[in-house]
Every structure is written in C-alpha cells, then in structure tokens.
Symmetry: C2
Subunit: 288 residues, 2 copies
C-alpha cells in the first residue's frame, strides 16, 4: 500500500468539492498553485467556462483528469431515447477532449427522476434493465473514443432518484455481461461513501481486479448525516475506515489517484477554497 503521509502526488480533487467557491478555471488555478496534480470536473462546471478554455487550462497546469463527471441517467421514457443517447455520447466526447482517465456513470434511478418528464413508475427492475441496455449501447461509442466507462454504484439511499445500481456486485455483474473479455473499456468507480457499509466489499473489490478498478473516490460518512445528498464529511471526520478500503483496492494493483469528492452544503461549501483544498491535502496524508 502506498505511503500517502509525506506528499500528495496521488491526490485528485473532484471539483464539486469547491463548486460554490469559484468557477472551474479558478479551481484549476488553485489546484495548480498547491501542487495538486489531478482533478475530476463536472460537465456543468466545464460548460460554464467552455470546453476549449478548460482544455487549455488543464494543459497549462499539466493536470491529469482522474475522471469526468458524469454520464448516465439512462432510465427514461422511450420518447427520450435519443436525448439519453446523444447526451451520453457528448459526455464521452467531452471526456476524451479533456483527456480524462474515465467517464463516471451515475446510472439513474426510476425514469421520472432520471429524466424528468418521463412517466412515473415504481419498477426498479425495469429501470435496471434500461441502465444495462443504455450502457451497452454507449459502450460502442466509448470504445471508439478510447474512453473507459466507470459505473459508480451509489449508496442504496439513492436507488430511487439517482442510481439503481447500488452495490459493487451489481455493477460488476453488468461489467461481466457487457465486457466479458475485461478489455478495460468498462469498470467501476469505487467511492467509499457509497460502498463502505457492504459486507461483501472486500470480496467484490478482489473480483473487480485491476482491470475493472477505474477510479477511487473518498470522503467520509458523518453521524448524524443531516441531508441525504449534501452532508458528506471530510476524510477523518466520520466513521469510514478509509485506509482499510484503500488497502483492498491497492492490493488489486490499483495505482491511480485518490479523488476527494465532498458535497457539503452547510460546512465545506461555506469555507474559503484555499482552506478546503489545504484540508484535503492534510487529510489525504493523515486519513486516507
């Protein structure tokens, strides 16, 4: 297991972590100043400053992209099929233009939440079928673009409205069916916030192996958690044994970035960008 205690060369900042404090160019600038070598930006942040300007800033700062957030939201009414397909293809193309390591997929939940305007339904099994079909279709485009797709299993509390793939086992079942040859075109993003509770986690990380482990995200689970979406904790402030999980991932050969992704409306989004990034660096060394 790599020693993170003396530098932060393997730290990546998911730019949602400081999305309230500035635009993407200012985030890139701050990361560059602090010796942070990688980021993972969100599509809306890129769109706000422009894809070309983002690409220039990334090149200028010699930044790596540990991922690009995000594709997905596959369940939808049939009338929206073209919208879903085109939107996801654009996400792949943007990720490729920026040189991202992978496109993270938040697959969507029930159709009325995944693609608003779709007819309300309660059939989560059907949504799961639509997700798998959607990933299968996108995979052709992603292969041509050379862009790996990383399915991110989300915590089960998001099953209805954000992602109906909620366990590593389910995500890897999809990988096995759509990419049985383990070509590297399809894998998973392991976010400790979503999967830390799973008694099957160690075994599923081993099942994934280095071929399928495309990204590793960290933050912490706070007790109490006061908001289902926007109350993630800084590493070390919660109950997740992050080093243990990182050990499992690295035992498989994962040697990529540890990406900090914190949505924190009442705490970290309220603090200055420098303070948040400095804390990420410190906690990356001490608690990851």
């Amino acid at each position: 297991m790599r020693d993170f205690s003396s530098d932060h060369r393997w730290l990546s900042i998911n730019t949602a972590t400081v999305r309230k404090q500035g635009d993407l160019l200012s985030i890139i600038d701050a990361c560059t100043r602090k010796g942070i070598r990688a980021i993972s930006p969100w599509r809306d942040q890129v769109a706000a400053v422009g894809l070309d300007a983002t690409a220039r800033a990334v090149r200028s700062g010699e930044l790596a992209l540990s991922g690009y957030c995000r594709g997905g939201m596959f369940p939808a009414d049939p009338a929206k099929a073209a919208e879903v397909r085109d939107d996801n293809r654009r996400a792949v193309d943007e990720a490729a233009a920026l040189g991202a390591a992978c496109l993270v997929l938040v697959v969507g939940g029930l159709p009325q939440y995944s693609r608003p305007g779709s007819a309300p339904g309660k059939d989560i099994a059907l949504a799961r079928t639509q997700v798998e079909d959607g990933i299968g279709e996108l995979l052709d485009h992603a292969r041509k673009a050379g862009m790996p797709l990383a399915i991110e299993p989300l915590h089960p509390m998001y099953a209805a409205d954000r992602a109906c793939v909620n366990t590593m086992a389910h995500a890897l079942d999809i990988c096995d069916r759509l990419d049985p040859g383990r070509t590297g075109a399809l894998g998973v993003a392991v976010d400790v916030y979503h999967v830390w509770w799973d008694p099957d986690l160690e075994a599923q990380i081993a099942r994934a192996g280095t071929d399928r482990l495309l990204a590793f995200h960290v933050c912490d689970w706070l007790v109490p958690t006061t908001d289902l979406l926007l109350d993630r904790g800084m590493m070390g402030d919660g109950v997740i044994d992050i080093p243990r999980i990182r050990g499992w991932v690295e035992a498989q050969g994962f040697a990529g970035y540890s990406e900090v992704e914190i949505f924190s409306q009442a705490n970290w989004w309220e603090r200055p960008m420098d303070e948040v990034l400095d804390t990420c660096i410190e906690r990356h060394r001490s608690a990851v």
Copy 2:
C-alpha cells in the same frame, strides 16, 4: 396472494406510527375501536404505562402482537456485556409476557452508537461479529421463553448508528449459522423500507422461506426524503412497489400481519391519531 382490498383483518399497527399522539393505552383503545386486530408496541411505550397494564389492555382488546420492538444493540465495550445481555433478556421476557409473535432485533451499529459510552471505533466487521455473538447468546434464553427472534436488516444508511446488518442475505447467513435446523427460533423481519432497493430481494425472500419470515413491515420511501430517520411515507405516497414484495413474501407461505411502521416527524406524527389510523386502514386496502 391475499386480497386486502375489502377488509383490514391482516393489518397491524406498529405503535411508533402514532407515538406522538397518545400513550400506548390510548393507541390500543383506538385500534380496538377501528377493528384493527394487531399491534406491535415499543418497549418505551410499554414501560410508560406498565407491562401489566399493557398486558391487560391487549387481552381486553383481544389484540394480537405481530411483534415487539425491540431487542438488539449488541456491539459494545466488553465492560457493557452484562448490560447488553440483561437488557436483551428482559426484552425477550416482556415479549413473552405480552404474547408477541416475535421479538424484533435492531442489532446495532458501531459500539459508540449502539451502546453510548463505548469506545469509538470504525471496525464494522468487528461490530458484525459482536452482533452475531450476541444473537447466539440471546437465542438460548429466547428458546427457553418460546420467543422467536426476528433479525431486521436495516437500510444501509443506518449501518453506522443503528444496525450493521443491512441486507437480507447477511441476516439469513446469520440465521443459517445459528439455527441451521430452521427450528423457527430465529428468522427475519422484512421491512420494505429497508430492503426494497436490493436487487437480490426476491431471491433472498425465497431463501428465507416460511420458516424464517417472521414479520412483514410496510411504509413507503419518499422522494425526496428529508430526514434519514423520521421521514417515512404512508404506503402509496412513495416509490416502493409494496404489492410486488408482499407477493414474494406470501409466495413463500407467509400468512401473517402486514405491520405499518411509519416514523414521520413533520407529517403523520402531526396529525390526529384517528386520521392516521384511518389512512393506514385505507392504504392497507389500496396500496399494500
């Protein structure tokens, strides 16, 4: 599958559903007036009016107890072992005195939350070991008392602070290890709120079979959910396909009560008891 549309003979009210509106005797009185044949009371509600008074009221109302809430909270510092054991034995004895169908176990999460004052820890695997040891020890006492123990897998969002058994598969693994003979002394409580998201749910219900299906709880998952604990929805107001899950349970031979358990600080706990119970009756017929 039983037809619930024309009467409510298989409705049970978990008395936490109207805990803010009155004490347990007033809840029993209201249920009796409305032809509700079963309840599932909480220990603190029983303690507030007395075990003997509760037993008399239950007999007088000819009520069944679909369960008794709750035993558990096993993870703890070693110094608290006697407290944990004695507390759980008392819960078994109370359940037996009241003639409950089972004692529901909310097994506890990390020790500092399960039994406050215990040393803080992040080792959820250790907590799970303590849970299984605790259930194993309690089982002897429960067998002598003739009181079945129902492990309730709780939603993964409660893994840290309430229950580190979060899937049917895990609960049934424990059952298989501690009661391989399927004697009826140990089983599960299936609460749709906790397990609806699980892609393995149908298979695990089949694995449980009638021997292990000791209780069936209903409410609904709201989108958005504004509080992790106290924002459960009335059946029909959320996204859970409750009839589908009831169908799976009944296909195994389950023929017990459908127990309504709603913690709803901002909505149902604010309404008059009669309105809540009338709505439970109506939704039991139309949405369960």
